[in-house]
């Protein structure tokens, strides 16, 4: 019953915001990444951010995606459920997506010191956000044959929105992103190195698997509750956030640790 209060609270508070992972998840990804930056990479990055932390910009792309000139980035937040990522799940031509943007930015940032400050700054903001987005199970555009809406109690909620906050909140409402990063960042150096290995494309394929799993776990009657859904997928959410953090660190280190 306590959960119902929470869910109600959240529904009321959350109306109007639709962010992948919500601010809490994105901030957590950035906290985890920051902890795994080399001192040199961290110093280089923050010199472009006026001494701010990447945490400050974790959800920045979400604040900006509707107005020009940032509206060009609107479709960067999602990926597609097909191998070539050129068409969406229904076979239509696909606009740019997070994985291809990440790859483009990484190659553009080859020697960041030769680039203008404003370009480096905005690329840091993009990467910080997009690596989080690509790991969010509903940021893969799944076919419309899958459920788009579910019900929690009597409230109807979009599957996308449920993952933008509700799933994490089901267990971690009240935990600050800083604390959440401490709880989730608990892997050994060897494990972390394994998570960080591979390319964005490899990670995308893995994300796809998790995404399918997260969507397939929705009960057949589309009715979600702690017992039938949240308690079962919270591990997936935590795993995705943690790995996104490690991988963001790997990307940023590869660019800025020089």
């Amino acid at each position: 019953m306590k959960r119902t209060i929470l869910s109600l609270l959240l529904t009321v508070i959350a109306t109007g915001t639709l962010w992948a992972w919500g601010g809490q998840g994105h901030s957590t990804v950035a906290y985890i990444a920051e902890k795994h930056l080399t001192p040199r990479a961290k110093a280089n990055i923050e010199s472009y951010l006026n001494g701010r932390s990447i945490v400050y910009y974790a959800a920045w792309m979400d604040f900006n995606r509707t107005d020009p000139p940032m509206d060009v980035t609107r479709d960067w937040h999602v990926d597609y459920w097909t191998d070539d990522m050129r068409t969406d799940a229904n076979g239509n031509p696909a606009p740019p997506c997070s994985v291809s943007q990440i790859k483009r930015i990484v190659s553009e940032m080859g020697d960041f010191r030769t680039l203008s400050d404003s370009l480096v700054t905005i690329n840091i903001k993009y990467l910080t956000h997009l690596v989080g987005d690509m790991h969010c199970p509903v940021h893969i555009d799944f076919p419309t044959s899958r459920p788009m809406k579910v019900k929690e109690g009597k409230t109807t909620i979009k599957v996308h929105k449920m993952w933008d906050g509700r799933v994490l909140d089901s267990k971690h409402n009240g935990l600050s992103p800083q604390q959440m990063a401490i709880e989730l960042d608990r892997y050994s150096a060897t494990e972390i190195a394994a998570f960080q290995s591979g390319t964005p494309d490899d990670w995308h394929n893995e994300c796809l698997e998790y995404s399918k799993r997260a969507i397939d776990m929705i009960p057949a009657n589309n009715q979600v509750s702690y017992e039938t859904y949240f308690n079962k997928v919270i591990d997936i959410a935590e795993n995705r956030i943690t790995l996104a953090g490690y991988r963001l660190a790997a990307i940023l280190n590869s660019i800025f640790d020089k």
């Binding site: 306590k2 267990k171 409402n173 009240g174 935990l175 600050s176 604390q179 892997y187 308690n231």
Partner: protein, 277 residues
């Protein structure tokens, strides 16, 4: 059949009982975590696969329908006589009022602590019992979990604000703190985990039972802080809240220190031992 009825009654009650909100539970656990000895922290981290007690602050609520925690649904409230003595479980269970018949938090806490002290548990059992201790001991520092048999009417206290009616029990659950501070987990530590060793010694002096019975007079007085039916406006609500938050924040801190003392005693052989009774 009788047992079944008791369980149902208990269930209904536990559903309507006020408990600390998630924010406060994780805040208390964070204060406790901050006061664990290195030795205790190490053992506990192992039990929890690398996570801390903060992560699990409310685990037994989230998984209340799991086999491991089903029986803890009646471990929410504690009943007291008019003399501020803990009402015995047998007596409580027979009581016609469901808030009392289900007030078995003390028995639950004692059974979990006894099991942990026996040292005969598997890793999983140790973990489950420890999580029970953390959540229940937190709740036993929330005044509305104290049911005074001579004072049951006051559990129905309410107030009006902006022409709406609110329950006083519900207020304590969250807004006793959230009404004044928006603290998050680590901020509870920053604000409240700053007592001197002498103050901590005073808070953790005596047995677990002493702590709980020691809380009773104060918590009884908390029920008197609201004249039921009061109509608040913004200003009078603020003035009233100013009387409450010093109590709620202090109880949260006290709960944190005491949970740390219990866990240190269980998981660090060099720490001072805390007795159950």
């Amino acid at each position: 059949m009788k047992k079944f009825i008791i369980i149902i009654a208990a269930l209904c009650c536990s559903l309507s009982a006020s408990a600390w909100s998630r924010h406060i539970h994780s805040g208390i656990a964070a204060i406790a975590h901050d006061n664990l000895t290195d030795e205790a922290k190490k053992s506990i981290t192992e039990l929890l696969d690398g996570k801390s007690i903060v992560y699990y602050a409310q685990h037994i609520y989230d998984y209340a329908d799991n086999e491991a925690y089903k029986h803890t649904k009646v471990w929410r409230n504690i009943a007291f006589t008019d003399k501020n003595k803990i009402l015995k479980a047998k007596k409580a269970a027979k009581h016609e009022h469901k808030a009392i018949s289900s007030a078995l938090a003390y028995e639950g806490l004692v059974s979990s602590l006894t099991a942990l002290q026996s040292g005969k548990l598997t890793k999983e059992q140790t973990r489950d019992n420890m999580l029970c201790v953390i959540t229940i001991l937190s709740d036993l520092h929330c005044p509305t979990h104290y049911v005074f048999t001579d004072n049951l009417e006051k559990r129905k206290s309410y107030y009006h604000y902006n022409d709406k009616k609110y329950s006083y029990m519900g207020y304590w659950e969250s807004n006793s703190i959230r009404g004044t501070f928006n603290w998050k987990t680590n901020e509870f530590v920053h604000q409240l985990s700053r007592k001197t060793p002498e103050q901590i010694a005073q808070i953790t002096e005596g047995s677990v039972t002493d702590w709980i019975t020691g809380n009773a007079p104060l918590y009884r007085s908390v029920y008197d802080l609201l004249d039921t039916g009061t109509r608040f406006d913004g200003k009078s609500l603020r003035l009233w809240q100013n009387k409450i938050y010093p109590i709620s924040t202090e109880q949260v801190a006290v709960a944190g220190y005491r949970i740390a003392a219990v866990l240190n005693s269980l998981f660090d052989s060099n720490a001072p031992q805390v007795k159950i009774k």
